[in-house]
Each structure stands twice: as C-alpha cells, then as structure tokens.
C-alpha cells in the first residue's frame, strides 16, 4: 500500500530538499506554490515575466549538454514543469555564511527597497557559475531604486567560484537526471510517439514548451487548463543539424542555446536573439514556441522569413515541411493543423555567402526587453555589377501576421544597389502596408520605420562592406 502511494507521488528537489507535488497543478505557477509553502523570499513583482523579481534557478543543461544553473521566472512556470527537476531559491544559497553574490550585493549597496533583490540574487547566482559577468545576466531584472550601478558593480566584482564551492560540486556531480516525471495533469513525454499517444488519449490537452507565453495565462488566470502535454523534453525536438546546405533547429531548443551554439552562422538571427526578451525568458522560450504562438510581433519570424526558412510539422499521420511564408495565415492563425507538432525550423544556407547581407532590427520604446513596435529583417545579394539578385524584406508589427514586402522585393530585383534605388524602395515601402496605431506607436511611425529601416540596412551594409 505504502509503495503504491510512494510510486504515485511526483517529486522535485528544492534547495536540496525533496518536495512532493500536488497531483494536479496545471493552473498553479511555481511562484504561487513557493509562496504557499512559506518560501516568501521569491517575490511577485508583475506576474508577467517582465520584472524578474520571481527569478529562481533550475539545474538544467547548457547547449553543450553540461549541467548548468539557469535563471527563470517562476511566475511563468506551470508547477507541473518542475516535476523531477532540481531548483534553488534565494533561501537556499547561503550555506556557510552568505553566498558570494549576496556578499557582493551588500558591499556595493546593491539593494535599496530590497523587493527586486532576491530575483537579482538568483540571476547573479546563475551567472556566478556560468561565468556571465555582463549586464546580459540581469537584463531581465527590473530595479526601480538603485539605477543599477551598484548591481553592475556587484556582478562584475565577483571572483570565480572556489574549488570547494558547494554548488560547483552540485554541478560537477549532477548526473543526467532520470526521465522526466509527470503529474496527473502535466505530462512530459520524451518522444514524438509518446506525444501522439497522449494526444490520442487526451485530445483536450494543451501543448506547452517553455511556457513563456502560455504561462501568462496561468499567472493571470486568463483561462483554466485541464491538462498539459509538455514538448520540453521531446528528443526529436531537441536536435540541431548543421549541414552544408541547411541548418535545422529543433523546435524545443531554448533561445539561450541557439544564442550560444549557433552564434555567427546567421548574423541577423544573432542580432535578433540579442533583443529577444531577457536571460530568464531566453532560458525557457523555444523557437517552436515563438512560431506556435504566431504573434504578429514575435521577434523571430521576420528573421526566419528573411532567411527563407521552412517549418517541419509532424502528426501521428507523418511529417510535412512548408515554407514559413505559407505558415502564417492570419492573426494568430497558422497552417498548423490540430494534432500537429512543430518539429523544427530549417534555414537554407546561402550559396552566395560572400555577397549575402542580412541584418535584423527591432524598434521598441525601450531598447532592451521590449515588444517591438516594428521589427524587420533584410537579406540581399548583388552580382558583380552591383545589381540586386536576391531580396527579402520581412517585417513584424506591421500587419496581422509577420509578413514580407513581396512587391518591393520583386521590384528590387535587377536594380543597382545604390542610394537612388533605396530612396525609390522607401517610397514604395511607405505604402506597402497599413499598420495600426496603438499604445506602442502610431501607424505613421510604423510606416516610416518600415521604410527607414531599409535605408538603415543600406547604410549598415555600406559600412561593413567598405
């Protein structure tokens, strides 16, 4: 009898103590759970994954498969997603005296009101072991008091962890964790077959990966979920295939992995990932999720459109590959059928790599961690006469879907890549779309950005090719 109960319990490890999860937890966030359990050091600043006050650290894997402490927003994590995982909160890192990141923040005056501090501490804790001593480590943490200078100083003054550091030993001794565990309403399959079996059994279930978008609905109780099928650990979705002609990126790969292992292959992608949210989100958000939510203001679609990417979908009936340009059908509507899973994104490598220029741009009210007013990505080739042989102009934030300026692309072909052509293209771009006015920016501003960003691209190309 005891065995039966024991085996049905789903556990996770928090601050080196084992916890038993409730049987159903689809509509509870990790943050809510922590605070209910009396671990009130972790704060809710916004509940939207935008302020980082709720940052905790999960023991995960780096892009190269090494154990790594990863900061994430506990307000966006459905409780079921921690089944079988190991986590740390601000209460669990002071061992023999304060942790060095805690000591450092005290010394520099890094806390004032202190409400954001636990979140900063956990971001810095992860950075302490990953070696990230730059602002990037804490861009996802808002502080309203300090102006960040003492926090920056605290981060930069950190030494390397000592040999006897307890947490370093945890990292070194961490074995690949056992199969991911499930709660009654949160399934973590490890293969596509299991996904489709589960879907057959629970057709009402919702797919979830990093949950950085869906998590908002859980956090804000915008809707109630009966069951999740997590794609986070599906092996087919975790593969990166770097081949001579294409790069295939598994849909379940978090952006922070793309950021670290694929850097330098597509500069436009590098550029955009840099502007994509902040560290905690990039540790969770996946490329498949960004395409699955199909937001017209998603950051990656313009880049992927400009790079002529395709998307691989799979269902129990088999696989299909469609151009990304055919994937977006309308506002948050896509060609993905019910029961289909996004498996990967396939990006062709330009055969004209020497002349191919591609850049991406994002304009928001704030440079960092903002939703774009307009995002754009351009890709262009010229021949030996300076005539344009290939042009892709892709935008986000200008229509109901991420979209290419097809007419202008066609018009550009055969034109000489010079200021006159760019000026004429700008005129055409000004009227190419009918963007809306909203609280992020006016239609007039968006129209100017659509045109101006292309000119900015021209000058940036001129600069790098000079």
């Amino acid at each position: 009898m005891l065995d039966y109960f024991m085996s049905s319990q789903t556990r996770f490890v928090l601050n080196q103590t084992e916890y038993v999860l409730p049987e159903t937890c689809s509509n509870t966030t990790l943050l809510e759970y922590l605070r209910q359990e009396g671990l009130v050091g972790t704060k809710e600043g916004c509940g939207d994954g935008d302020c980082g006050a709720c940052t905790v650290v999960m023991l995960g894997q780096s892009a190269r498969g090494k154990p790594q402490f990863q900061a994430m927003n506990s307000c966006l994590i459905p409780l079921g997603a921690v089944a079988g995982k190991e986590l740390f909160t601000v209460e669990g890192i002071a061992k023999e005296g304060l942790h060095p990141v805690q000591e450092s923040m005290i010394q520099t005056g890094g806390s004032q009101c202190g409400y954001c501090t636990p979140g900063f501490i956990m971001s810095m804790f992860a950075a302490y072991y990953s070696g990230e001593r730059t602002d990037l480590a804490v861009e996802g943490n808002l502080c309203r008091c300090t102006g960040y200078l003492p926090i920056r100083e605290a981060l930069r003054s950190l030494a390397e962890p000592g040999q006897n550091d307890i947490f370093l030993q945890i990292l070194e001794n961490s074995e690949t964790r056992k199969a991911n565990e499930n709660t009654r309403d949160f399934h973590q399959p490890s293969s596509l077959k299991e996904v489709f079996d589960l879907l057959g059994a629970y057709p009402e279930a919702t797919f979830i990966a990093g949950g950085t978008d869906l998590g908002l609905d859980i956090s804000n109780k915008a809707r109630a979920f009966s069951r999740f099928i997590s794609l986070e650990h599906v092996s087919e979705l975790k593969i990166i295939k770097d081949e001579p002609a294409t790069l295939e990126i598994g849909a379940g790969i978090p952006l922070s992995h793309i950021e670290s292992v694929l850097h330098g292959i597509f500069p436009a992608l590098d550029e955009m990932i840099h502007w994509f949210a902040a560290r905690q989100i990039r540790n969770r958000a996946t490329i498949g999720g960004n395409l699955g939510t199909a937001s017209p203001i998603g950051d990656l679609p313009p880049v992927l459109l400009a790079l002529d990417a395709s998307i691989k979908l799979a269902s129990s009936a088999g696989e299909r590959i469609i151009p990304l340009a055919d994937y977006f059908l309308g506002y948050r509507q896509t060609a993905r059928q019910k029961g289909e899973v996004i498996v990967s994104v396939i990006i062709p490598k330009a055969q004209t790599a020497q002349t191919r220029q591609s850049f991406a741009y994002k304009v928001g009210k704030r440079g960092t961690d903002d939703i774009s007013i307009v995002a754009a990505a351009f890709s262009l080739d010229t021949d030996e006469h300076g005539q344009i042989t290939h042009a892709r102009l892709a935008y986000g934030g200008v229509a109901a879907t991420p979209v290419r300026a097809l007419e202008v692309e066609t018009w550009l072909l055969g034109k000489v890549w010079n200021q006159t052509t760019v000026n004429e293209a700008k005129k055409r771009l000004l009227t190419a779309f009918s963007p809306l006015s909203d609280f992020r920016g006016s239609a007039h501003y968006r129209q100017r950005l659509i045109a101006n960003l292309f000119e900015k691209f021209y000058w940036q190309v001129a600069e790098v090719t000079a």
Partner: protein, 765 residues
C-alpha cells in the same frame, strides 16, 4: 563614529537572503480572507445597479463589500473628502466599484468576475484641453508673483511665447499595494500596510470604520518601493482590508496584482505650461508669465500641493526679476494623480529648462552659457519672496564643468555631428535647485521613541517609514553617534502609530532631516539621564562633561576611568531611572502665506548639476545614453553609500520618466499601459558604462542633522540633462523648429527630427 560612514542598508542582509519581511510575507493568520476588486469598465458613468447575487454562489465567497457596509464615512480623500471608497458615480476607468471577500484569492477573483454592474455612461473629460474648455478644475487657481511682469514683458528686447507639455509617470514600485487587517474582539483593529504615511492611513481607516483613531494601529514594516505612490494611495486598500475585517471578525487582506495596481492607483501629474518669456539681447531673463495646468485626475488628493511645488520650481536656478505664475489643477476622469518623487518640482523645472534652451537657440547662445549667466546669487529673492543664502549653484556648476571637460566634449560632438549624417550626438549640462521642507509648514514636525532595555539593548522608533531610501540606517547612525555606541546595539522597529503618533508622511525628502533630529533629541534626553547615573558610578560631579564613545562613558579628563554603557543602564534601572524617552522636532523659522503666494517655505535648498551625452539614430529615433557625470550637494553626507544610491537611482528614474515611460489612455479613458510589457521603465542596459557621481565636498549645511542635506528627490531632476542633450542632438539635424515631446520616445524623437528638417530653410552657399 557612525555619521558620515558608508554603511550598507540596515536590511541589506535580509534583502539578499530573502528574509526581509514585507507586508505580504507575514505568516497568514488563521482564517485570513482575501479581498478582490470589481473594476469599472467606464471612465465616467452613473451606477444603476450592482448585481452581486451570482458572486455569492461561488464557493468560498463570503460577501461583497458595498457602500452599505460602511459604518463610518464612505470616503478616503486625504485632505478634501472627495474620494468615495464605493462610488455611486464612476470617476475613472478601472475604479474599484465593490470588493469581493472570500476564503482564497482564487475564489475572490472568480466572485469578482461574476459581479455585474449596470452603468449609465456619461461623457468623460479625458484631457487637459477638454478640462480647460469645460472649466473643470479642482479648487481655485494658485498664484505667485513678483515685480510687474506685464510691463517688463512690454519692455523686453525679445519675447517668446510657447507651450511645454510633459507626461505622467507610474511609480512602478516593485511591491504593489498591500494591506491586511486583523480585528480583536473588543473593537480594535491592527492594520499592516505598505504605506508611506501610517498616521494618515490610521485616520482614514478609523474614518471608514466609524471609530476613533486610538482604536486603529497601523504598522508599516517596510515598503518594496514608494516614491510617493504610497503617500496617500495606500489608504483605500487599508480601509477595504479593515472594513472586511470589521464586517467578518476575521483577518482580511488586499494585495493588488500589478495590472490592478497600475489601473487603480494615481500617478505623477502630466502638466502643461503656457508661457511668455522676455529677455535681453544678451540673454538675461527679464520676465516670465506662466500658466501651469496639471491633470489631477478625478479627486483632489495632493494635487494642490503638487501644483504649488511645480510653481515653486518653475524658476529652477534662475533669477527672473519679474515673474507671474498661475497654477490650475484640471479635474478629469482618470486615476487621481498623486505624489511622485519631486512632487511637481520636476514638471516645473522641465518647463523652465525647455524655455532656457529655446531662448538660447533663439539668440544663438550656448544653452549652458545662458543658464549660467542667469543663476541665482546670494541675496536674490525668488518669485515667492524667499531670499536665498548660501547658493551653491556656481560651485557645483564650475566643478562639474571642469571635471567633465564639458567644452572640449561639446566641441568634439559638434565635429562628430558635422561629419556624420546617420547618427547625431548631443550633450547638455543642467542645474538643479530644490527647496527642502514640506511647503505646508505645520507638517515639518517629527517624533521618536527610544527604549533602552536593562541589558543595554535598544529599540529605536521614529515616525518615518522605510521604502528603500535608507532612512532607517541613517537614523541608526544618528542614534549610535549620539549615544556613542556601535550600530549592532540597536534594533530599528517597524513604523507604527502606537509608538509615535501624529506623524507626517515620509515624503518631501524630509525623512532624515525631521526624524533624525527627533531621534537625536530622544537620545540626548536618555544620555543626560544616563550621564547622571554614570557620574555617580565614577564619583564625578559634572555629568554634562561626560563623553559617550565606543560603548563607554567617561570624563575626558580621566578617560581611563570609564564605565561600560550596559553597566550604566543596569545601574540606572536599579536607581529607578526611566530608560525610555520620546524625541520631537519642528523645523524652525519657515512659513508661507498661500493666499499671497509668498513667504519662506523652504528651510534650505539642495543643489546639483549633471552632464549627459546621447546619440540618436536618424532612421528610428532610437537613442542611447553615452555618458553621465553628476555633482550633487548632499551637505555633509550622513552616509555616502546611501546618498550615492539615491542620486543614481533618482537620475535613472527621471531619465525613464522623460524618455521611455509613456502612459497611454485611449479615447474612452482606458489606460492601455498597465503592465511592464507595455509600460517600460529603464533596465540595466540603458545605463551607460561611463556614469560617475560625486558628492559636493566640504559642504555642511548649518542647522540640519549633523550638517547633512536631504537627498531623496533633488537628483531626480538631474535627468533633465538627458532631455536637453536629446534636444541638442535633434537640433543638429537642421536649423528648423525644435519641438521634442516628453517623454521623448523614439517616435517623439523621430517626429522632432522630421520637424527640424522640414522647417529648415536652405540657404544658398
């Protein structure tokens, strides 16, 4: 010596370990109920009917609080009683109509979703121009004036007329409004509230409950940020929690979700200045005629005082011989705008700095030259009749100008701009002069209560609240200095109305000045008593000659004959000497006649200056801050680490206000930017590598606690240098008209660039 040392925040260790207790972190008592608001979906409407029946069917819902439940007054207005807790007429979009009380947050939220309200929509007033047209104002206009402005404008060589509009700002304290209340069985109420003003929260709770103040105790543990947003705005939430507790006999809590907080709570006032300025050919200001309008929102709150401070600071640092300023608070159907760091001062200062830059551009004088040549000097009188002494503008200015190599840098930037068509840089140097004191004179008082226990450990209470500004560590330093003890002998107590009554809000940068003197006063009372005991122990006759230092009490003539502090305390107890004392302080010699608009409202002024350099992208209007250098006058700093934190934090908050924090209301009056996804405050990435802050050296302030100066608000306005630097960059795109909106979002900057280019007249070579 404790004073003048860089000591970390007294709670720093708790902050970094997550053990600092905030109002929502206290262990929930048995039976804690949760209150959830039903928010209006109109900006202005008569409420015809509120249907609560369906909400009561939700499992866990106990009741729905409505106006019928109020035994006292259904009003939480802090000065004017014009804020209905349960409104009959909706005054703004998102206003709480009723509150659902339930066993859990989930049940309360679900219950609130089931309350339906029948509205009869009314036409809302949503902008200042609409309010002006419809003569919709809070109270009468205020006026301050000196000289004969009309005549001086007539005689001025040049007169410019214009308007300056500046946006509001959400406080975005990381901790949202939170209060909870626990009743006893005898009709008393203990309230824990994240409030900057426990006394007023106490008064308002008592008013709503229909009991005398002594029945209500309000405790403010610490706040996760306040910035003025919890000066009056905490009161209604505390009142709701207390009312739920009163009705049910059970403890009850209100904790706003971020979206609710941003929709419900008041913000910095948007303001509009309409001016005529007269000046000489050489750029000497001669006269300023100015009307300032603020968007006060639906109720009075502190709007009159905020407007008054905008008017007080509409001269910033400049002597203007003839000046006539009127202030008008517009009544609109929006959140009731409230205190926010600077309290109107920043808006007044943005207006005059905009004028200064415009005059400089008009005359072809460098703005920093024009600014400097109009600085106040000792003996000058302001437009409200206060004669200035110890003006430190020239000192701060020249020190910064020199250390930053301002002129060289500006020349380099101008060269850069001539060579570069795609990016333009800008640089500006701007001053701050900020008046210190509550301008409502009687508020300049504070109390303290210090308790020494027989083992020599000490509790300190004072009327100020801790919101991150480091008030408590400064107060501990004052106590430690006065009693000659190390800091670890003291425990700072949470601010509570049963320890120190009738306090003023922790606001107006006055926390250290006022409470510091009160703490010192209490400690000196105790010191005198202990000295008498110690003298007896040492066999000396002159207790007043004894020194308290390093934990010992001794005569400087015989420093080796000393007694330990705790031994004296133990002896005092045996000798039946009282070991607790209150302290009190009132700021001397300040007054202000509101009707005449004149007096000496400020005990002194704080000064500072900042240089900012920016770079603007011609294609998008995006920009970046390249460097900042600040010199600020904090007097003889009580704690340089804390003061630098206030200066840097204030600057960055000001930069956010002027550049990226944009409040957008739609045409129905709905606030569209009520979450951090749409309302953007600065992140670390917006902070330049080159950022240096220096305190003005050798600058003690006479008559203030240990020679220090208030530092909470003044640095906020140093960020005006960013706006002026952006204008410099934008101006370099041509010779046309320069109009840069505030906040200067990328869109506003691109608009300004377009305008400069379009109005540039091309002259032949």
């Amino acid at each position: 010596m404790s004073i003048g040392k860089s000591k970390p925040h007294d709670s720093a260790r708790h902050h970094v370990t997550g053990t600092a207790t905030y109002t929502d972190d206290q262990r929930a008592p048995d039976g804690l109920l949760v209150c959830w608001p039903v928010l209006s979906s109109h900006a202005h409407a008569n409420i015809l009917k509120i249907n609560v029946q369906e909400a009561l069917t939700v499992k866990g819902v106990l009741r729905v609080l409505t106006a019928d439940d109020v035994l006292g007054e259904n009003n939480t207005g802090p000065i004017v009683h014009d804020e209905e807790l349960f409104p009959r007429v909706v005054q703004y979009w998102g206003q709480p109509i009723v509150w659902v009380v339930a066993e859990t947050a989930d049940a309360a939220r679900q219950g609130a979703a089931k309350v339906s309200v029948d509205y009869d929509p009314l036409e809302p007033i949503l902008t200042m121009p609409q309010a002006i047209d419809q003569n919709s104002f809070h109270g009468d206009a205020q006026r301050m004036h000196k000289g004969d402005t009309a005549a001086a404008l007539n005689k001025s060589a040049h007169v410019l007329e214009g308007e300056v509009e500046v946006g509001g700002q959400d406080h975005f304290y990381l901790e949202t409004h939170t209060s909870w209340a626990i009743p006893d069985t005898e009709g008393n109420m203990q309230v824990y509230s994240s409030t900057q003003h426990p006394t007023e929260t106490q008064i308002v709770v008592a008013r709503v409950l229909g009991v005398a103040s002594h029945r209500v105790v309000v405790t403010s543990l610490r706040m996760g940020g306040g910035f003025g947003g919890k000066e009056t705005q905490a009161n209604p939430f505390a009142a709701i929690a207390a009312l739920a507790a009163q009705k049910t006999g059970r403890p009850a809590k209100v904790r706003l979700k971020r979206h609710q907080d941003m929709q419900i709570s008041g913000k910095r006032h948007p303001m509009l200045g309409k001016y005529r300025v007269g000046f000489s050919k050489t750029g000497k200001l001669e006269a300023l005629d100015l009307d300032i309008y603020s968007d006060g929102g639906y109720s009075t709150d502190l709007s009159q005082a905020v407007m008054q401070r905008a008017m007080f600071h509409s001269d910033n640092s400049y002597f203007i011989p003839h000046m006539d300023v009127r202030g008008h608070v517009c009544k609109t159907h929006k959140t009731s705008q409230t205190a926010f760091r600077g309290f109107g001062g920043p808006q007044g200062m943005v207006i005059i700095e905009d004028i200064m830059a415009r005059v400089a551009g008009y005359l072809g004088i460098e703005p920093e030259v024009l600014r400097e040549q109009n600085f106040y000097k000792d003996g000058d009188e302001t437009h409200y009749g206060q004669q200035l002494q110890d003006v430190r503008l020239a000192r701060v200015w020249s020190e910064l100008k020199e250390s930053s190599g301002f002129e060289t840098q500006k020349a380099a930037i101008n060269t850069f701009n001539q060579r570069n068509q795609l990016l333009k840089r800008g640089i500006a140097l701007t001053p701050v002069k900020f008046g210190i004191s509550f301008t409502t004179t009687f508020l300049n008082q504070a109390g303290a209560f210090v308790l020494i226990y027989a083992d020599g450990s000490i509790q300190v209470n004072h009327g100020g609240t801790e919101m991150g500004q480091g008030l408590h560590i400064k107060m501990l330093q004052v106590a430690a200095q006065t009693l000659g003890l190390p800091l670890d002998r003291f425990r700072m107590m949470p601010t509570a109305t049963d320890k120190v009554p009738n306090t003023s809000a922790t606001a107006a940068s006055s926390g250290s000045d006022l409470n510091g003197q009160a703490v010192k006063n209490a400690c000196e009372t105790l010191k005198l008593r202990l000295a008498t005991v110690a003298a007896g122990m040492l066999g000396l006759n002159a207790p007043e000659d004894l020194s308290f230092d390093d934990g010992f009490i001794y005569s400087s003539q015989h420093p080796k004959d000393r007694v330990a502090f705790e031994a004296v305390v133990a002896q005092a107890y045996l000798e039946q000497v009282s070991l607790s004392a209150t302290g009190f302080y009132r700021t001397p010699n300040i007054y202000f006649d509101k009707l005449k608009g004149s007096g000496k409202p400020f005990y002194y002024f704080a000064y500072g200056a900042a240089v900012s350099e920016v770079e603007v992208d011609t294609f998008t209007g995006q920009w970046k801050l390249r460097q900042v250098e600040i010199v600020h006058d904090a007097g003889q700093s009580l704690n340089p680490l804390i003061d630098k934190g206030q200066i840097e934090g204030g600057f960055v908050q000001g930069m956010g206000w002027l550049t990226m924090e944009e409040l957008v209301w739609d045409e129905t009056g709905q606030l569209k930017t009520f979450a951090p996804s749409t309302y953007k405050i600065p992140t670390i990435a917006e902070i330049p590598e080159a950022f240096s802050t220096r305190l003005l050296e050798r600058a003690p302030q006479e008559g203030v606690i240990y020679g220090s100066k208030a530092v909470g608000e003044p640095p906020f306005m140093l960020a005006i240098s960013v706006r002026e630097a952006l204008k410099h960059a934008v101006a370099s795109f041509g010779t046309g008209d320069l109009e840069l909106a505030a906040p200067s979002t990328p869109e506003a900057i691109l608009d300004a660039i377009d305008k400069v280019r379009q109005t540039t007249t091309v002259t032949g070579d």
